[in-house]
């Protein structure tokens, strides 16, 4: 079952944080993006992922991935600890990304629900019905799609 993550953090507006954001933006393609890409490609559970900055005021990590939030949040934390540390450091009240409880709570509390209602039974971190997520291929999972594409 595909779940959407719309992790959205307000960025602190102080000079030091804005400088960190500028650095992250400038180095994202060369330093951050390859690390995320390598981990997600190997996982075969993530459809799409991107990181978006809105007017230097908000940063979003948006992904569509397979499996319950409970099952793979810990994978994302372990696989991308420095990446999440860099992104979370732009916000207030950030968790220690080596702390599994804090990472779970922070992810849960900053995941914004999309409008509408999921048609595939997807739920949020607390088990409530998730918002709508369109799927052109009827919510087929990453593994099924890759397997179909790999067939000669």
């Amino acid at each position: 079952m595909t779940h959407a993550l719309n992790l959205t953090l307000p960025i602190k507006q102080d000079e030091a944080t804005q400088a960190k954001l500028k650095h992250l933006t400038a180095n994202f393609a060369t330093e951050v993006q390859p690390k995320i890409e390598a981990a997600l490609k190997a996982s075969r559970i993530v459809h799409f992922a991107r990181v978006v900055v809105i007017d230097n005021k908000y940063i979003q990590v948006i992904t569509e991935y397979e499996g319950p939030h409970q099952e793979y949040t810990e994978f994302f934390r372990r696989a991308l600890t420095p990446v999440f540390a860099a992104i979370f450091s732009l916000a207030d009240n950030v968790p220690d990304v080596t702390d599994t409880n804090a990472f779970w709570e922070f992810s849960k509390n900053h995941n914004y629900r999309s409008l509408g209602t999921a048609t595939n039974g997807s739920t949020d971190f607390s088990g409530n019905p998730a918002g709508w997520l369109f799927s052109a291929y009827d919510h087929k999972n990453v593994e099924a799609i890759l397997t179909a594409l790999e067939k000669p």
Binding site: Q70, D99, T100, E143
Partner: protein, 465 residues
């Protein structure tokens, strides 16, 4: 290293006492409940002690609400901080096994759904304390249970009784021959725990079973040094799972499908062969991985085997129960190798069998099964993960070797009503042919709850208030 003297004994070693009961309680007044703990904590054996005949072995387990009630107002242990220190899968009701969304995720649905649990008399959330006790004899059991109940009632604990059991408590036995209702010998695989933290090759890290010693590989909660980590150290999480076994359905499946699976064998032998394929061991305990074609004259209770030479499951089907629940050397998929850098999650099992044997072919409507008692350090990363994997075998690329294998299920414990489940049991043969059998539901969950078994020091803290 873990302090074995501080750990409740049943986490460290199994008991040979033949009779077992688990009593469930809701607490009343906290100070009175502490009196109950003061009375009974001295009966809890420590991990360093040998089992003593003539004395019952009692163990005390607490839900988060139980701990919260007992510790509210404590001078050092602020329960609001405790709620953040323990993992959410223990303290947050939306992450509990009886939450509807979580239950669905774990395969606790349909006839196994929480609305059917605990004889419909109470919910998992009502259970605040469990007393898990083993006895030498029926007389000892009757006397101790009577004393326990008198003491509990006097000190304001309400027993949550189950009409299924004559005595009102989950009760059963450790069968003398070790065989449970489906006929399999149980208790062969027990994790060899490295309690001294020596890094001994082949042993399982102590952090898989007790909290208080977190590291990067095992970030057990409470993860940060402080009063809550001190309180929790040498404690373990314990899950109680009341599981009905549908012996008539299981025997019927073997009878109906044995000849399809092994057409050249006599019917009885075909049934035995199919039973072995479902479990991954012959019913006498001998592993299929070592004896795939037939049982040796005497059972070989061997744990020194893997599946590397059998990627397609020709010797031991890849959805056989022991291969799903503990994949040994079978690689996990990438995301799970990241989650579990030290290997597949493990559980210590301390359960017991209940109910009389089925003596006829048809269902006799008598309740029978197993009460699973599982010990582990991380609720979500161990207990929940294993439950999920029983329902959907997408946790290892090994399952891609069979048709629709990433949606396959454990041969014995899968809930066939699980969403998009592939309920075929695939039996590949060495000649390249195969047979697929339509699985049935063989078990039904009748109650699941997650507890914390504090250390001996933790019990003293709870008793003192």
């Amino acid at each position: 290293m873990a302090d074995l003297d501080n750990i409740q004994a049943f986490i460290v070693r199994s008991s040979a006492k033949p009779l077992i009961a688990t009593l469930l309680f809701r607490l009343g007044d906290a100070e009175a409940a502490r009196g109950f703990l003061r009375d009974w904590s001295p009966m809890v054996p420590r991990g360093t002690t040998s089992e003593r005949t003539g004395e019952p072995a009692l163990h005390l387990l607490f839900s988060w609400t139980g701990l919260e009630k007992l510790l509210r107002g404590h001078s050092r242990l602020d329960v609001e901080q405790g709620r953040l220190a323990f993992e959410p899968f223990f303290v947050d009701p939306t992450q509990a096994p009886d939450d509807p969304a979580m239950a669905k995720q774990l395969g606790l649905l349909g006839p196994s759904a929480p609305e059917h649990w605990w004889d419909r008399r109470f919910t998992s959330k009502d259970i605040e304390v469990a007393v898990h006790a083993s006895f030498d004899s029926a007389d000892q059991k009757a006397r101790v249970l009577d004393d326990l109940r008198t003491s509990a009632a006097r000190q304001g604990l309400e027993e949550l009784k189950l009409p299924t059991f004559e005595n009102g408590a989950l009760e059963g036995c450790r069968p003398a021959d070790g065989r449970l209702h489906f006929g399999y010998r149980d208790g062969i695989t027990t994790p060899d725990v490295d309690w001294t933290d020596s890094g001994r090759p082949g042993a399982v890290d102590l952090r898989e079973f007790v909290v208080g010693y977190p590291n990067d590989d095992y970030p057990t909660a409470p993860q940060h040094p402080g009063v809550w980590q001190d309180f929790a150290r040498d404690g373990s999480h314990v899950a109680l799972a009341w599981i009905y076994q549908d012996v008539a359905a299981f025997n019927g499946f073997l009878k109906d499908n044995g000849p399809k699976a092994a057409p050249l064998a006599a019917p009885d032998q075909a049934s035995e062969w199919l039973a072995a394929k479902l479990m991954g061991r012959w019913r006498d305990g001998t592993p299929l991985a070592k004896f795939p074609d037939g049982r040796p004259p005497h059972p070989v209770l061997d744990n020194d085997f893997g599946y590397a030479d059998d990627p397609k499951g020709i010797k031991c089907p890849i959805t056989a129960h022991i291969r799903v629940a503990n994949g040994r050397d079978q690689p996990l998929k990438f995301a799970n190798t990241v989650r579990f850098p030290r290997g597949t999650p493990r559980l210590i099992r301390r359960g017991f069998s209940y109910g009389p044997a089925l003596t006829q072919a048809a269902n006799d409507d008598v309740d029978r099964g197993v009460v699973g008692v599982f010990c582990f350090a991380r609720v979500n990363e161990q207990f929940y993960t294993v439950l999920r994997w029983l329902q959907k075998t997408d946790f290892s690329d090994a399952f891609r070797s069979i048709p629709n294998g990433l949606n396959a299920q454990d041969g014995l414990f899968g809930n066939r009503g699980f969403e998009q489940a592939n309920t075929s049991f695939h039996l590949p043969r060495a000649d390249g042919s195969s047979v697929s059998l339509q699985l049935r539901d063989f078990i039904r969950y009748k109650g699941v709850a997650v507890f914390f078994a504090p250390s001996m020091a933790g019990l003293a803290t709870l008793s003192a208030g």
